[in-house]
Each structure stands twice: as structure tokens, then as C-alpha cells.
């Protein structure tokens, strides 16, 4: 039953994940000299991989924008769209505890997020770490803030999921968890403290959101 549910969720999020992956491949690929659409985006040789002139560079801006938008789309698609189509009622009548249903959905969303965000970043890191690919220095520490972006994307996905699940008005408090998550992620992205503390902060936020999602799913009266 769980495998079927996972397959269904992956199928439904797959389209958005594929689009996000293509966009990431284009913008990160242009940094490697392999853009999907030539002439759009900065080309290789104009910047040091992972560094920027300002606080945040164009390539990182593109990366994090695509990642966060896709995370929010995944989260809302798995909740709001299902409520709208009333698929949730069908799912809740399957012989599975509610917590398992929602954890399976979260696992599917997280998998889509990893494929569309972490995987392209890993490829870009490996390219930058290979000698002879660019005429500039590379240290793994340079990629650290980009991995923070990935962690922030995960938190935003969970917050979007909670936002879609909560029974509240859109013009009321429904979006507040997502706004709070975005704010806290921005703080953790830019605060100059020891990186393990940053990732611990992201972990605490994620665990808190998963707990709230399960609690909301348990007490919510459907439809």
C-alpha cells in the first residue's frame, strides 16, 4: 500500500520535479559551459564557481529561486490540490494510519526535492572540483552556503505542506507558517556562525514542521 502511494505521489510531483531539474540543469549547466538553451544566462569563464561579487550571486539566486519555488509547488500540490480534488478523502479511507499516509507523502516530496535540487548541485560541485575545468581556485568550503540553500529548500517544502494542510483562511493565518519558515531560513542562510550549528537549526525546524504536519493531519476534520 505504501509503495503504491509513494508511486502515486512521485507520479504527481514528477512533472514539477522534471521542470525544476531542467531549469537547474540549464542555469548550473551554463556555469559549466553546457547550457540547455544557449545565449541565456552567464557563460563559463565569467565568474569563480560558487562565489559572487555581492552578498549572493546571480547563479546562486537562480538556483535558490528555482529550488524554493519548486519546493512550495511540491508542498501545495500534495495538499491543496488533493483537497480540491478530494483525493485526500479517498486516501484517508485506505487501511493505513494517517501518520503513515502523510509520512509517505513527505518522503515522496523530499525525494523529488533531492533530485531537482541536491543532485544538480552535487554535479556542479564535482565539476568545479575537477582540475582543468575552470581557471580559478576551488575549495569545498565555497559550496557550503549553497548546501544551506538546499537545507532551506527542505524547510520551505515542509512549511508549504503544512500551509496547504492547515484548515485556515488564505487571507488569514494559513500562510503564516510558510512566511515564518522563509524568514528563519533567510536568517540561517546569512548568519555567520559555525556551520554545524546552522544545519542543526535547519534540522530543528524540519523536525518541528514534521511534528506539526502529523498533528494537524491527526486532528483536522476532513473535508
Amino acid at each position: 500500500m505504501q509503495r503504491t502511494l509513494l508511486s502515486k505521489e512521485l507520479r504527481e510531483c514528477g512533472l514539477y520535479a522534471g521542470l525544476a531539474l531542467l531549469a537547474q540543469m540549464h542555469y548550473l549547466g551554463s556555469g559549466m559551459g553546457l547550457p540547455l538553451i544557449p545565449f541565456i544566462g552567464a557563460e563559463r569563464g565569467q565568474e569563480i564557481p560558487f562565489l559572487s561579487y555581492g552578498v549572493i550571486g546571480n547563479r546562486e539566486t537562480n538556483f535558490v529561486t528555482i529550488a524554493v519555488i519548486s519546493a512550495i509547488v511540491f508542498g501545495l500540490n500534495q495538499t491543496v490540490m488533493e483537497s480540491w480534488r478530494q483525493t485526500t478523502l479517498f486516501l484517508l479511507h485506505r487501511p493505513l494510519p494517517r501518520s503513515e499516509i502523510f509520512l509517505t507523502k513527505l518522503a515522496a516530496g523530499a525525494l523529488c526535492l533531492l533530485v531537482s535540487t541536491a543532485l544538480p548541485l552535487l554535479v556542479y560541485c564535482l565539476w568545479a572540483a575537477t582540475p582543468g575545468t575552470h581557471a580559478s581556485p576551488f575549495f569545498w568550503g565555497m559550496t557550503e552556503t549553497w548546501w544551506r540553500d538546499v537545507a532551506a529548500t527542505g524547510v520551505c517544502y515542509l512549511a508549504a505542506f503544512l500551509t496547504g494542510l492547515r484548515p485556515a483562511h488564505w487571507l488569514g493565518s494559513r500562510t503564516w507558517p510558510l512566511i515564518a519558515a522563509a524568514f528563519l531560513c533567510v536568517v540561517l542562510r546569512f548568519v555567520p556562525i559555525w556551520p554545524p550549528l546552522i544545519y542543526s537549526g535547519f534540522f530543528v525546524l524540519a523536525v518541528s514542521l514534521i511534528g506539526l504536519i502529523l498533528e494537524t493531519a491527526r486532528v483536522r476534520e476532513y473535508p
Binding site: S52, G57, G132, A135, S136, S173, E215
Partner: protein
């Protein structure tokens, strides 16, 4: 959930309050003119003023209006404050890029690989083949990565330890333009100096100034045994129609001027304050602009300008006082914080931890309780507003808990009182009012089950 909702609402509240205040500030200050004291390239002070819809105007100190405000060339000075004493945390500020502008060109990078060791070295890559060329450390060129002992020691940002003709091409995170240069092409946007080659740069490292020539890949010692040198800058001087580069280093007792080709030193002994600015004009004149009553953020309306002669002595001194500002302070930082953060907990956290992060000059002595007291005085409006908001929110929460939910515990009133206005909004979302019955009573959250009457067994 309460925490998430409270933070989410706080963000929305902050955006709305900041937008409202900036709108009010814009309306209130539409007719206000903002005035600044500037020094021209000739070393004469002018007062420049700017107003919405009126553009820039300039006048001399005696009030004579200058006809062409936009044509006035302003001198570039540099702040004399001591730099921060640590390697920057961000990688964007730990890598600077340069080119030797040869054909094929080599991209050179000044890199501080670790924060802890505060060391840096140059690493070069051939632009066309992207091949690693080698490294430059204090001992010159090598194909092996310099050890800590062979690297430059830079305990501050590159900006404070680096000077040179190539300085204009410094663009952290950006490579030099990836085009091929002629055999002897001069770097673009760099001045040609009579006493320096275009590819030379200088680094201050533990009291020694090293000269680095990227084209010949050589490193030489220009000056040593000056451990009191705090930072390095560059200035240009015109003599006989030719430009000469002058390196300027701040020491404990004043400023040190160094000729980059010969290493000749010239000292100007001045008592420097953190907010002072020093000007080396192209005509050779030297000026010091001081703000004796500068605010903690480095702003002030009283200035003292000192002109120095060639011997480094003050030959003229002038006091300047700008007219008092008529600007409305609606968008001042204390007002903004008071309007955007009506929460006792935020105020408390800011007061306790704020002094650790407050702006201060790096060479200033810090006093925690002094900073704390100063913050309490400066932000007394915030103190008042947050306490008021917290008190009202806590009181309203207590009434609601007691009258509606029949709860006599103090947990929610205390939490909501600490979080203030934001806490109240979070609270009413997680504890909404139940339905009201026809007898004006509130429906219990969990309605009592119908009492058994004993005949259910027959149902």
C-alpha cells in the same frame, strides 16, 4: 504551531509597519534639504545639498552658490579607523581576482584558504588552458602550494591589506575579463604611474610591505619592521604633469607615506580619531577632516578641516558647522523598532545580546554595561511600547482563558505577554473562540457527553 504563527505574523507586521513609516517619512520630508560637507579636488570645502525635485546644489562656506554643482570634482578620502582584526568569514571576501594581461593571460587569485590561520597566497591559472600555473608567497613563485610560513599573513580584509595598480580590477567572485591581451597591454581602468608598473601590487603582512609583480612573478620586500602599520591604502600625486603613486599606511602615531619604487618613507604625525578622514590630493596637498562630535554611527554636523604643509605640519585649520537638520525623524531607527517590534521578549533579547553585536570602531574599548545603558536610553520608546503591548496582550489572554476556557493556569498569559502583540495574534489562531450558546455561555471545547439514563441497554 503557536511559535510558527507568531513568527509568521511578526514578519508580516514588520513589512507593513516599515512600509507605512517610510511612506510617512517620505511625505513629512518632501521639502527637506539634505546637506553634506565635501572637499573638492583642490582641497576646498563645499556644502552640497539635495532635495526631492530640486536636485543637487552646492555652495561655498561663505554662502556663495556655485554655478555648476554637477561639475564639481570631489576628492576621495579614506577613513583612518583601524580595520577589523580577523579574516573575513565569507568566501566572497577571501578571494580576489587579477590578471597579468599578457597573451596568453594568467588569472591570479589572492586566496585566504582558512580563517583560523589568517594566511593568504596568490594562485595563478592560465586563462585559456585553465591549467594551474603556480603560487606566489613571501618567498616568490613556486609550483607547490605555500605553507603557512611561506604565505602572507593577513589578519584583516584584503581591502585593508592590499594596494596597487591592479586594485581597480578587484572584483570578488568575478574573473577578469576572459579575453586575450596584447603583449604589453596595460590593465584597463588603471592609471599609468611614473614610479610603478601597471601589474604591481602591494600587500601588508605582519609589518612588512611586499611588492608583487604578476607579470614577472616576483615578490620583493618594499618595507619591513613596521609592526605598528594597521592598514595600507594608495593615493596618487601629480608632479610636473606626471602621476606618481604613493602608498599610505596608518600607524599608531599617524600616517606613513611610502614611495613604491624606492621604499622611501615620510611620516606625518597626527592624533587620529576613528571617524577622521584623510585626503591625499593629486596636487600634493594633504587634508584631515575630523568630526569631533560624531554620533556612534559616525555622523555629525561639526567638522574641523586641517591642511598640512610638505613638512607634515598643520598650516591651516578651519571649523565648519552645518546648519541644524530640519529632517523629521519618523523613520529613525528607534521609532522604527518601536513600531515594528512591540514584543517584550524581542526587546529583552536585543538588549541582552545587542551590545555584543553593536556597531563600534574596531580600536574602541568596549564596555558591556555602558553599551547596555546607552541602548536603554536610545530605545526608551521601544521599551515603553513593548511593555505596554505585552501587558495588554497578557491581560487580554488571562481574561479570555479564565472567562471562555475556564482555565486558571498562567501558562498562556505569560507566554502571550512575553511575545506581545505578535503573541496575541498567534494565540487567537491556536485557541480560537468556541461557538456561543443561546444563553450567552461559551460552548466547551469538548462537549460533555449525554448523561446515561440507565435505559440504554434496551436500545
Amino acid at each position: 504551531m503557536f511559535v510558527w504563527l507568531t513568527i509568521g505574523f511578526a514578519v508580516i507586521h514588520n513589512v507593513i509597519s516599515f512600509w507605512s513609516l517610510s511612506l510617512l517619512d517620505f511625505i513629512a520630508n518632501r521639502d527637506v534639504r539634505h546637506e553634506h560637507l565635501q572637499l573638492t579636488e583642490e582641497g576646498e570645502p563645499v556644502i552640497q545639498s539635495w532635495g526631492i525635485g530640486r536636485g543637487w546644489t552646492s555652495r561655498q562656506l561663505d554662502g556663495t552658490r556655485l554655478p555648476d554643482s554637477t561639475g564639481i570634482k570631489i576628492a576621495n578620502g579614506f577613513r583612518v579607523a583601524a580595520p577589523e582584526g580577523h579574516t573575513p568569514y565569507s568566501w566572497n571576501r577571501r578571494v580576489d581576482s587579477f590578471s597579468d594581461y599578457l597573451s596568453p593571460s594568467t588569472n591570479w587569485f589572492l586566496v585566504a584558504p582558512t580563517i583560523r590561520s589568517s594566511t593568504a597566497y596568490f594562485v595563478g591559472y592560465e586563462a585559456r588552458s585553465r591549467r594551474l600555473v603556480g603560487y606566489l608567497g613571501i618567498n616568490g613563485f613556486s609550483t607547490a602550494q605555500p605553507t603557512k610560513e611561506q604565505s602572507f599573513v593577513i589578519t584583516t580584509s584584503f581591502y585593508n591589506a592590499f594596494a596597487g595598480n591592479l586594485a581597480s580590477t578587484i572584483a570578488p567572485g568575478n574573473l577578469p575579463e576572459p579575453i586575450e591581451w596584447g603583449e604589453d597591454a596595460a590593465p584597463p581602468n588603471t592609471a599609468q604611474y611614473a614610479n610603478a608598473t601597471p601589474d604591481e601590487a602591494w600587500i601588508l603582512s605582519q609589518g612588512t610591505i611586499y611588492g608583487i609583480q604578476l607579470r614577472s612573478r616576483k615578490v620583493r620586500v618594499l618595507l619591513k619592521d613596521r609592526p605598528d602599520a594597521l592598514w595600507l591604502r594608495q593615493a596618487s600625486v601629480s608632479r610636473d604633469g606626471r602621476s606618481f603613486l604613493s602608498l599610505v599606511a596608518r600607524t599608531e602615531t599617524g600616517l606613513l607615506f611610502i614611495d613604491p619604487s624606492t621604499g622611501e618613507q615620510e611620516t606625518t604625525s597626527i592624533s587620529l580619531l576613528p571617524y577622521d578622514s584623510f585626503y591625499q590630493l593629486t596636487s600634493g596637498k594633504r587634508l584631515l577632516l575630523q568630526m569631533p562630535q560624531a554620533s556612534r554611527q559616525g555622523f555629525g554636523r561639526q567638522f574641523v578641516i586641517s591642511w598640512f604643509n610638505e613638512a607634515g605640519e598643520v598650516e591651516r585649520r578651519q571649523d565648519v558647522e552645518l546648519p541644524p537638520s530640519t529632517e523629521s525623524k519618523i523613520l529613525s531607527f528607534p521609532t522604527m523598532v518601536a513600531a515594528s517590534q512591540p514584543s517584550p521578549m524581542t526587546a529583552f533579547v536585543a538588549w541582552v545580546f545587542g551590545p555584543f553585536f553593536s556597531y563600534h570602531e574596531p580600536d574602541a574599548t568596549r564596555n558591556y554595561f555602558g553599551e547596555l545603558w546607552h541602548a536603554l536610553i536610545e530605545f526608551k520608546l521601544w521599551c515603553l511600547v513593548s511593555l505596554l503591548a505585552g501587558g495588554i496582550a497578557g491581560w487580554a489572554c488571562r481574561n479570555r482563558e479564565r472567562d471562555v476556557f475556564g482555565n486558571k493556569h498562567w501558562f498562556w498569559p505569560i507566554v502571550v505577554g512575553l511575545c506581545g502583540w505578535f503573541g496575541w495574534m498567534g494565540y487567537i489562531c491556536v485557541r480560537p473562540l468556541p461557538a456561543r450558546l443561546s444563553n450567552r455561555q461559551w460552548m466547551p471545547i469538548q462537549p460533555e457527553p449525554v448523561r446515561p439514563i440507565g435505559t440504554e441497554i434496551f436500545a
